[in-house]
């Protein structure tokens, strides 16, 4: 039987506010456990929440970025459950009246294919702390630094049909939230976490199959793996005549396996009700329009501009506009030649970043530095081959392009007199090769040039301008024929 996969995503996006959603404690990542949890985050008796206006504003920015309706009056609810890393015994979230209503995100799937994924809603809520189950001799450690970090949970409609689309959605969402500056996008630190709802059904069937939810995936790669695994698992069960249990599953990225976390029957009754400590938040059109005015360029707008301004292909433009950091890097580098800059960013720069496991913002070579190097390429100070050495030098911290060129003696020789001398010397020293050239049929002589070029470049220690050498060599050899 042919099967169709149906995927919907719930994505937790940590907002990059300086302080927590309901307290003044810092949200910075990586501090000593429990040093960034104040009395409110610890749910000490008598403490009360106050909404962080900046978190609210960022949620509105997101809504505007996905063309969604913004609730002028939204309500915080309490979701009740007990867990040690949930200090109040309830999570403050939004159930019935979320801040962001229905919207959509458009995906580009390559070869001109696009797909629109509808967003059901996005709501504001607080993150829980972390439970650490290792290194405590059979007990669990609780770190409440993360408790109260503002999140928006973005809930998609089940509009995706395979892992490629799901990953494209996740990447596009990442691109939007980093471009508008509401999330640092650091997946490894949990800044974005994905819950994937997956079901399969016989192709052509209208009714949806029973779905499972795989929780807490924090990389595009794990998401792709987990989807593939879960789709295969469900199809295997159905083809063996079994049925899918509605359940929550956990993916183990080390073992590449998944296991059931809890079944529908074990699911909590969260006893949601409006939080009486927080009044409904009311905003007006002026507020929304003020936020809209501050909204930075969105990835799709930027992509169109890159095609238009820099004459890039749609594909290159989509890659370079995906993240704000990458786009800024590219634009800084594109000052003298956009196409060369695009090639360098997608080639050498990304390769080095991957190899060193660095984000673009952490690149030791800045966009400006790359742009200066490209300018030296364009004005013939260095050859393409030398450019790679210059880049290497800059990456290793030897300074900007000019400094590396100077230090490594990489200046290209373009002085005609000096180059003619080099050619003459090589021709004089290789009489046999010259003889051979003369005797070669005119149509095949071009192939013989390489030998001379190699000798000359070697003699010049690679610094001779190859184009000029080529011209001088041709001229001199033709004079000899």
């Amino acid at each position: 039987m042919e099967w169709e996969t149906v995927i919907g995503l719930e994505v937790h996006v940590q907002l990059n506010t300086a302080t927590k959603i309901f307290s003044g404690a810092s949200t910075a990542f990586g501090a000593e456990p429990n040093t960034q949890a104040c009395a409110i985050d610890l749910a000490m008796p008598g403490t009360l929440p106050v909404v962080n206006a900046e978190a609210y504003r960022k949620a509105v920015m997101f809504g505007l970025a996905i063309d969604a309706g913004i609730a002028k009056r939204s309500v915080f609810d309490r979701k009740n459950y007990f867990y040690p890393d949930l200090p109040k015994g309830y999570q403050t979230t939004q159930l019935d009246i979320p801040i962001v209503g229905p919207g959509h995100i458009d995906l580009q799937l390559g070869e001109g294919k696009t797909k629109r994924v509808r967003i059901h809603h996005a709501h504001l809520e607080e993150d829980a702390g972390k439970s650490l189950h290792e290194d405590f001799h059979g007990m669990s450690g609780i770190d409440l630094n993360r408790a109260g970090t503002p999140l928006i949970e973005v809930v998609s409609e089940p509009d995706m049909n395979n892992s490629v689309e799901a990953v494209a959605f996740a990447k596009q969402l990442h691109s939007i939230v980093t471009s508008i500056g509401i999330c640092d996008g650091k997946m490894a630190q949990g800044s974005m976490r994905f819950d994937v709802n997956i079901s399969v059904r016989p192709k052509g069937q209208e009714e949806l199959g029973t779905r499972t939810e795989t929780k807490n995936l924090n990389s595009f790669k794990f998401m792709e793996e987990a989807i593939a695994l879960e789709v295969e698992r469900q199809i295997d069960i159905l083809e063996d005549g079994g049925s899918i249990a509605q359940e929550t599953r956990l993916y183990n990225s080390d073992a590449k396996t998944s296991k059931s976390m809890r079944s529908k029957e074990e699911a909590n009754d969260y006893r949601y009700f409006p939080c009486p400590d927080l009044l409904p938040v009311e905003i007006d059109d002026d507020f929304i329009e003020a936020v809209r005015k501050q909204l930075p360029e969105l990835p799709a707008e930027r992509q169109a501009r890159f095609v238009d301004t820099y004459k890039l292909s749609e594909y290159d433009a989509s890659l370079l506009s995906a993240s704000a950091d990458l786009a800024h890097f590219f634009e800084a580098a594109a000052s003298s030649d956009a196409k060369l800059a695009a090639n360098w960013v997608m080639g050498e720069v990304s390769a080095r970043l991957n190899a060193d496991d660095k984000a673009i913002a952490e690149s030791p070579v800045t966009g400006d530095m790359l742009g200066d190097m490209i300018a030296r390429l364009k004005d013939n100070t260095i050859s393409s081959k030398q450019a790679k050495q210059v880049f290497e030098g800059m990456w290793k911290g030897e300074g900007n392009a000019d400094a590396v060129i100077e230090k490594r003696g990489l200046k290209q020789v373009s002085d005609t007199g000096a180059l003619e001398g080099m050619v003459d010397a090589v021709l004089a020293a290789n009489a046999a090769m010259v003889e051979d050239y003369k005797n070669t049929d005119e149509s095949k002589r071009k192939k013989k040039l390489g030998g001379f070029m190699g000798q000359i470049m070697k003699a010049s220690k690679g610094q001779a301008n190859p184009q000029m050498i080529n011209q001088i060599l041709m001229k001199k050899l033709n004079e000899l024929v």
Binding site: A39, V51, R271, L278
Partner: protein, 492 residues
């Protein structure tokens, strides 16, 4: 000294009749000597009180000290006090020492008031008799076989027994007004949002409101002047000017319209209380007020609505007491579930457990609409009754008057086996919490009961933020009556 009102003590300090240290020592001595009869304090902060008194004396000597500088007061043990154990009347918080002050506590500290200690209360403010306190029941100074009312029973008993000139208290369904009535005191519950809830341990967040427990309306006005403030740490606190609540105390009541709701005089009201309240109505007529019969048609729904909404909110508010970070933790938990179950089973008393269960039930899937949602609708109807009563285009009254409680103080154990009988104690007080209105209780008589001669309370309900008028109306009553000057037997 202890028979003086705060207004008189303020003068006494300024006239150098006594120092704050002498005054404070005097009350500390009384507490030490007499409180074993009442059990009104959970914690007495003797050393810090004397230190605060000395600091206050210096400020007084320097001049320009705030009104309450050097005045000893007691705080209900629901208000967090930095470095001082705050138990909320529960085993759960028997050893809990907060590292912060409630805003109410902070406001009095800023004035230079002296904290004598923390007063006993029903556990987590859940009760109308003070019998649910983990630290033992509080006894009514009028008859120590009787309850003082609750939940602010310790605050009421200590002021009635003159162990403190005034105390702070909180009122979620009547917890200031009912004990004030049962102990012959003046108690004020301000408008919801008038006083900050920061640092006040939550029972039902949308109903809880702090207020003063005093011997006179004038003292209540002086206490409220310090207590009321806008506080950005409490999102439900309302930004509203804080007037001088003593400024209008002496206004004439000529032209005042007092509404008397028929529903507050129905079956269940002790006839002797009805007689006392009717006498008060006559007094108000003599003071120039016009009496108007009004109707608050949804009154009978207030107790059922309250006993859905308050438990629902408490079921979530008390989830934080899980034995993980602070508070009671059971011995040797064998796993997480055991930690939760035993810590909470051991740490909470029966009434608290009952309300958590009722609240969790009312919010649970399949029952939410029938209970919580319906109760919220009823709450809006109850509020609308009051809005109509105060609306100049409708009933147009300025103040609503009635009894505070259906009965005077009752004997220990009389209602503790029957939760519903206990809940009906608050039948006249609960509606104003649901509506968020300010209300107060003041003594309006002594009646003969099976437990001897006991005080009863007159309740006055005002419009939103109309505390100054409420206090004016109460103060004028106290200018022509002496019920507030009666003291329990043996206290003088």
């Amino acid at each position: 000294m202890h028979n003086k009102t705060i207004a008189e003590l303020i003068q006494g300090l300024r006239n150098k009749e006594f120092t704050s240290r002498e005054l404070t020592q005097h009350y500390l001595d009384r507490i030490e000597r007499l409180d074993s009869n009442y059990n009104s304090f959970i914690t007495v902060t003797k050393d810090s009180a004397l230190a605060q008194a000395d600091a206050a004396d210096q400020r007084l000597a320097a001049g320009e000290a705030p009104d309450l500088c050097g005045i000893p007061i007691a705080h209900k043990d629901i208000f967090c006090t930095d470095g001082v154990r705050t138990s909320c009347g529960s085993k759960m918080l028997e050893n809990f020492v907060p590292p912060y002050n409630a805003t109410v506590v902070e406001n009095y500290l800023a004035q230079g008031a002296v904290m004598l200690g923390k007063t006993n209360m029903d556990e987590f403010a859940m009760g109308s008799s003070n019998e649910t306190s983990y630290f033992g029941a509080v006894k009514n100074p009028w008859n120590t076989d009787c309850v003082p009312g609750g939940s602010s029973g310790g605050s009421a008993a200590c002021v009635a027994a003159q162990l403190a000139p005034a105390a702070t208290a909180t009122d979620t369904g009547g917890s200031i007004r009912q004990p004030a009535a049962l102990c012959g005191l003046t108690g004020l519950k301000p408008t919801y949002g008038r006083v900050s809830r920061w640092g006040m341990i939550a029972f039902a967040s949308s109903l809880d409101q702090a207020g003063p427990m005093t011997r006179t309306a004038e003292d209540a006005a002086i206490m409220l002047n310090a207590m009321a403030s806008f506080d950005s740490k409490d999102s439900t606190c309302i930004e509203h000017d804080v007037p001088d609540y003593t400024a209008e105390l002496n206004n004439s009541l000529d032209g005042l319209t007092i509404g008397v709701p028929a529903e507050y005089f129905g079956e269940g009201l002790n006839p002797a209380i009805a007689t006392a309240v009717n006498a008060a109505i006559e007094t108000y007529k003599k003071l120039g007020a016009t009496i108007k019969e009004i109707t608050l048609p949804h009154t009978d729904l207030s107790v059922p609505a309250y006993y859905v909404i308050a438990p629902a909110e408490c079921s979530a508010n008390l989830s934080r007491f899980d034995g993980v970070r602070y508070g009671h933790r059971c011995e040797d938990p064998k796993d997480l579930n055991d930690l939760y179950c035993r810590s909470r089973a051991e740490g909470f008393g029966d009434e608290v457990k009952r309300r958590i269960l009722v609240g969790a039930y009312a919010l649970s899937s399949g029952y939410y609409d029938a209970y919580y949602s319906k109760a919220q609708k009823v709450r809006r109807l109850i509020k609308q009754d009051f809005v109509d009563a105060f609306d100049p285009a409708k009933a147009g009254v300025d103040i609503i008057l009635g009894p505070t409680t259906p009965d005077p103080a009752f004997a220990f154990g009389a209602k503790s086996a029957d939760p519903v009988a206990m809940y009906l104690e608050d039948i006249y007080t609960i509606a104003t919490n649901l509506a968020g209105l300010p209300a107060m209780s003041l003594p309006c008589g002594l009646i003969e009961s099976e437990n001897g001669e006991l005080p009863v309370g007159l309740q006055l309900i005002g419009n939103y933020f109309d505390e100054a008028r409420l206090l004016n109306v109460a103060h004028q009553f106290q200018q022509v009556t002496d019920f507030h000057q009666h003291t329990p037997p043996g206290i003088a």
